[in-house]
């Protein structure tokens, strides 16, 4: 029983991280039809920013350092993504394959730069002692970081749903996911929504970068790429452009991975997720909740 509880909470925690990366990918795809390979780079750069922000505040309370890393990572993720949209995506507005290609180049270059500057080896991050501790729940000793990640991802999910359903820009994004041209034909500058969506996606990916560091206790240059691929799978299973679908699929993928990796063998869970993707694509090419924008 306690093992199952631990696996569920860990799976949810992993799903929470996947969701944070997938949410932005999904919105960017839905609105702009851009497959953003640079999303993993936003994640990685934010993770390292958070690491150094916390290190700069080493003398103060560990909570201060942790909050600072969270804020700094999220902010840098948003800024990096915004600049990417303005400088690289916008000039290629009429060349969709070119847009994918520049994000590929940016991903490769950023990864190489981070590796060159900070080395390929994992670095230990410091977290507040409470997070390193565990809480007993139904007989299972669950690391507190799991709860932190799950709660913050849930807040982001509700924030995004509120934004999409209750604000004018959310309305524009939902309409744009359906038909960009018609949004322009109503006199709305849809390009501004593009920038906004990139900023939001970059912020969520940046938050994920810092939270993943908290969750695993380490950072390394390669995790962003691994996260990106998991997030791609989540986005496709959930339905491109659907935030609720991404959340559902992220939980599904996280749980499936944890349970199979534990009960079958390490790696089987990762493999099963890919098979699940293939099955979903063949049976429901639009994804579980495809065609809904929020």
């Amino acid at each position: 029983m306690s093992t199952i509880v631990l696996l569920i909470v860990t799976g949810l925690g992993l799903g929470a991280l996947y969701f944070l990366v997938a949410a932005g990918l999904s919105l960017i795809w839905g609105l702009m039809r851009v497959l953003n390979f640079a999303h993993g780079a936003f994640f990685t750069v934010a993770a390292y920013t958070g690491f150094f922000a916390a290190a700069a505040l080493a003398g103060t309370s560990p909570w201060v350092g942790w909050f600072a890393s969270l804020v700094a990572g999220t902010f840098v993720g948003a800024v990096f993504a915004t600049l990417t949209e303005i400088a690289l995506i916008r000039p290629l507005y009429r060349r969709p394959v070119g847009q994918v290609l520049v994000t590929v180049g940016l991903a490769l270059a950023t990864l190489a730069l981070v590796e060159g500057a900070f080395g390929a080896d994992p670095r230990q991050v410091t977290v507040p002692p409470w997070m390193a501790a565990t809480t007993s729940m139904l007989g299972a000793a669950i690391p507190n970081t799991r709860f932190v990640v799950i709660v913050l991802a849930a807040l982001v999910l509700f924030g995004l749903l509120f934004f999409l359903r209750r604000t004018r820009y959310g309305l524009i994004v939902r309409a744009g996911v359906e038909n960009r041209d018609m949004v322009s034909a109503l006199g709305i500058d849809v390009q501004r929504a593009f920038t906004l969506v990139f900023a939001i996606g970059g912020a969520a990916a940046g938050l994920a970068g810092v939270l993943a560091a908290t969750y695993y206790g380490t950072i390394d240059p390669g995790r962003g790429t691994a996260m990106l691929i998991s997030a791609f799978i989540v986005v496709v299973i959930g339905g491109l452009g659907s935030i609720a679908g991404s959340a559902l699929a992220a939980v599904l993928v996280g749980l499936l991975q944890q349970f199979l990796n534990f009960y079958a063998a390490a790696g089987v869970g990762d493999f099963a997720v890919v098979l699940l993707l293939a099955v979903v694509l063949l049976v429901r090419p639009g994804g579980l909740l495809g065609g809904k924008s929020a």
Binding site: E178, N179, D181, V183, L186, D189, A294
Partner: protein, 240 residues
């Protein structure tokens, strides 16, 4: 173009190519202020392309001016903000948004909003405000699409593409009435295949054939002369 009221929208030498094939080969015409100008022609001669070209939804060359101001270099949303409303052929309402959200999205800062007129013409849009647009019938979607164009009082001209296509006679009649009312408050450039409807509503007419303007003038002149009608529209107008 006839003398008389001043020209509101002027299109000069509009050319549009999609891929390798040229759809419009230099279209020029003017739309007079007030009333409805018809854009007619057989299927596939470039009527929809002309409207989309005016809006800048397709890459094009040539010039488009609205009340003397050039729209040519502006992005789509800026053209629309200068006062060009658009009702596309396929209605293109946002299926995942409610009726109310579709209308709210259309609201433009700095413009009066004609909710009373819209709800008077199409009361079902108020009754079903919370319904998803994707669940509406074709006729209701057409009404919503027309309502979006009518809503902003700052729109000086509406480009309306085949609003009666695929609708039942009862709905066609309502749409025609709505167009007539709309023409009292704004100018309309109307693409219409239903000649009975066109003849009833339209004053000036522009006929396209193979990407070029072949006739421009009074609609009565065109339709009441069977030879002219056959030559330009490819059908006998006798039945209408």
């Amino acid at each position: 173009m006839n003398a008389g009221a001043e020209v509101l929208l002027r299109v000069e030498n509009l050319r549009v190519s999609i891929g390798e094939s040229q759809i419009l080969g230099g279209v020029s015409f003017g739309v007079r202020q007030g009333g409805i100008t018809g854009l007619l022609g057989r299927n596939g001669v470039g009527k929809t392309t002309t409207l989309r070209g005016i809006l800048g939804l397709l890459p094009r060359t040539g010039t488009v001016t609205l009340a003397g101001e050039s729209l040519t270099a502006l992005p789509v949303h800026e053209i629309v903000r200068r006062g060009v409303g658009y009702v596309p052929e396929d209605r293109d309402v946002f299926a995942g948004l409610t009726i109310e959200e579709n209308l709210r999205l259309t609201e433009r800062a700095g413009s009066e909003h004609r909710y009373p007129l819209v709800y008077e013409l199409f009361p079902e849009l108020r009754d079903r405000a919370a319904q998803l647009a994707g669940t509406l019938s074709g006729g209701q979607q057409q009404m919503l699409s027309l309502a979006r164009a009518l809503l902003n009082a700052s729109n000086r001209i509406l480009l309306i593409d085949e609003p009666t296509k695929g609708l039942s006679p009862v709905v066609v009649k309502r749409v025609a009435e709505a167009l007539q009312r709309a023409a009292e408050v704004t100018t309309i450039l109307l693409v219409e295949q239903n000649l009975a409807v066109a003849r009833h509503l339209v004053r000036d007419v522009v006929v396209l054939d193979q990407g070029l303007v072949t006739f421009a003038g009074d609609i009565a002149e065109l339709i009441d002369d069977p030879a002219l009608a056959r030559r330009h529209l490819g059908l006998s107008a006798a039945g209408h």
